[in-house]
């Protein structure tokens, strides 16, 4: 049952990544693309955690944490850039 659940989850999260990528390419506006990137990295975190369960290893945990951190910083920087025209002020 666990193998089945893991397989289905891989499929669902993979599909989520594809949909987000489609929105990233499609746009139409800058905030849409930033939001798509945001979704992409959060889904990537889910994918890494899933891989960790599937392979019974915890070595990827730090990777997931780092992606979450960097993704957030990236989203904030991009959103601020669009909203204000500069990142620091």
């Amino acid at each position: 049952m666990l193998v089945f659940a893991i397989t289905v989850s891989f499929g669902a999260v993979g599909l989520a990544l594809l949909l987000a990528a489609w929105r990233l390419v499609r746009g139409p506006d800058l905030p849409d693309r930033i939001l798509a990137l945001d979704t992409l990295y959060i889904s990537a975190v889910a994918l890494i955690v899933l891989a960790g369960i599937a392979w019974r290893t915890q070595v990827y945990f730090e990777a997931a944490l780092l992606i979450a951190l960097m993704g957030f910083v990236g989203t904030v920087a991009l959103a601020l850039y669009v909203a204000r025209g500069d990142v620091m002020h």
């Binding site: 506006d29 979704t39 959060i42």
Partner: protein
Amino acid sequence: MLLETAVSFFLLVGAFFTLVGAIGLARLPDFYMRLHGPTKATTLGVGGTLTASMIYFTAVEGTSLHELLITLFLFVTAPVSANLLARAALRLKLRSRAPLPEASGAGRD
């Protein structure tokens, strides 16, 4: 057995909500509506997956709580990025199906 059921349940719930968030992102008609999908569904989706991981590794290797860090981090950061993105969109005056508010301080800082 019970454990396997719990892990599978959280995995499936997590994957379902992650997918729902992405579907919302892909198919809703305007930016402000698209914002709803990822900020809520995806966050809970990843939360579900992390809960499954927490239960699984606690069972296999003894206490494993560090997934909690990612979950909490995502729950704290999701509203912040959503808020900033909404502000950016208001600043750009993106078209919206809901009438845009007139006298808001959008983008004024």
